[in-house]
Symmetry: C2
Subunit: 306 residues, 2 copies
Amino acid sequence: MRIVELPEIVATLDEAAAIAAIEDGFRRLHRGEVQLAEVGHLNFADPPGDCHVKGGHIAGDTVFVFKFATSFYRNPARGLSSSNGFMIVVSAETGEQLAMLRDEGLLTDTRTAIAGAIAARAILRPGSTTLGVVGTGIQAKMQGEMIARLLGLDEILVHGRSAGRAAALAAELGGEAVSPAELCARADLIVTTTPSTTPVLTEAMVRPGTRIVAVGADTPGKQELETALTAKARLIVDSAVQCAHHGEAGWPVRAGLVAAESLVELGALLENPVAFAETDIVVADLTGVAVQDIAIAKTVWERLSG
Amino acid sequence: MRIVELPEIVATLDEAAAIAAIEDGFRRLHRGEVQLAEVGHLNFADPPGDCHVKGGHIAGDTVFVFKFATSFYRNPARGLSSSNGFMIVVSAETGEQLAMLRDEGLLTDTRTAIAGAIAARAILRPGSTTLGVVGTGIQAKMQGEMIARLLGLDEILVHGRSAGRAAALAAELGGEAVSPAELCARADLIVTTTPSTTPVLTEAMVRPGTRIVAVGADTPGKQELETALTAKARLIVDSAVQCAHHGEAGWPVRAGLVAAESLVELGALLENPVAFAETDIVVADLTGVAVQDIAIAKTVWERLSG
């Protein structure tokens, strides 16, 4: 087994190949061509932390992938990253472990940002020019940079709870820090990336025709968008089951305002594009699915071994 | 993360420590002190193979363990082992991966044999002298050697479908190769280790008072003991859920001959020893549980890091 450390992964990762592989992964998932393993999960109380093991295989691929990831929330106080983990690439012909990718979270961060860009492209209103970024963390930075570049949005607005961090990220992205109200008033596309448990954007703030990529809500209890907003939006989800359970789309579904059957999976939207109305508010709710991990690890391995 | 290869694992593994840890693991499992992750599983059709990921944490331990294992059945035709895998030892305080144990199956084989020895000791009839071994594979060899040595059984009988392999194993264990009928007529304790799907030992062959450790049946369809035999035996199981589903005990349970509630878990037996009657036939049905993997990997890591 080849042990691949972060610098080699950085040098090998090809963004265009990863985007193509992840988009293909969403399509294959929709077509029922992805075998996913049950997610293994452990919870720790003291110190608080958790562990997730996810994996799967895309039909016809010569490799399959498992991802092992931990989050221990008191690590930063000890000078350690809260996240740890790796992906392993395994031969689907012999079961031999081919590579361990010690990516220090880079591949997860990248595949998350790429899914945001894929979803943004699928729901973007023609003629859009302005991107709003809510949040100031790693996903705010990665999604803000990647979506603006790939979709050609040349104006970037940033809002964060910390004015200083918002200003810093705005400077880094070549944009400006604004209030949530101003961000909503000016942005054509908004990406929300916070771990908030109370809505940051309300129905009253968001204009008709706004497109939103929501990536913050990934566990029960998190919510960035007011339920009245998601209730009236067209809802695109990376996984109907996950999003109804703990994504942004889960709030209106559990409140009985939206039928779970009306959620449209991203893979379905990619396979069968929808012409949204100019005035439609469209929300893409992304909770993260294992096919993204499989796809990005596969592209790294293909280049390493090719 | 430390990568530990097989020779270092062999040099580090301490049998007594592993036995104590695994016995403690069974007791802790019974007391509800073991958190087990959902088992992740993938199946492959062409070439045929499968992948299992199991893991868990024993309350209070400073580490937790995941095991990754694949079996690809056509590998031997390509000159490869059918089994591949590793265990990882992870800090339960920070989530950091401490060690990857590339054991090539040794730890799984050893923890399986140790569970057999623990079960054998728990059900042995006082005054026993003769061990019968059914099968000629790695578990026949490891269990035969370990049980005879640890329990002081000085006569060993071996039966295998292949007379040559049975004779070879008998020579290696210092015993003799015999027919199934003779093995049953003379053995006090029998360990069955075959992947058979039709019973090898029947009710008519097995004498009152015989104690049997059955380790072969670990997936649906396998059966080494006639249902009429297990139906009248006292049944000890490593996991009531697993054994009722795909262990030796599952056959009489699914036939309605034995109540699932009457199965006694090995951990319960260790915590609350039972004085079996002289004439009781007792079967310990072992399908393998993740706490064995956790316990043995933990002991290796403790010695490596101590």
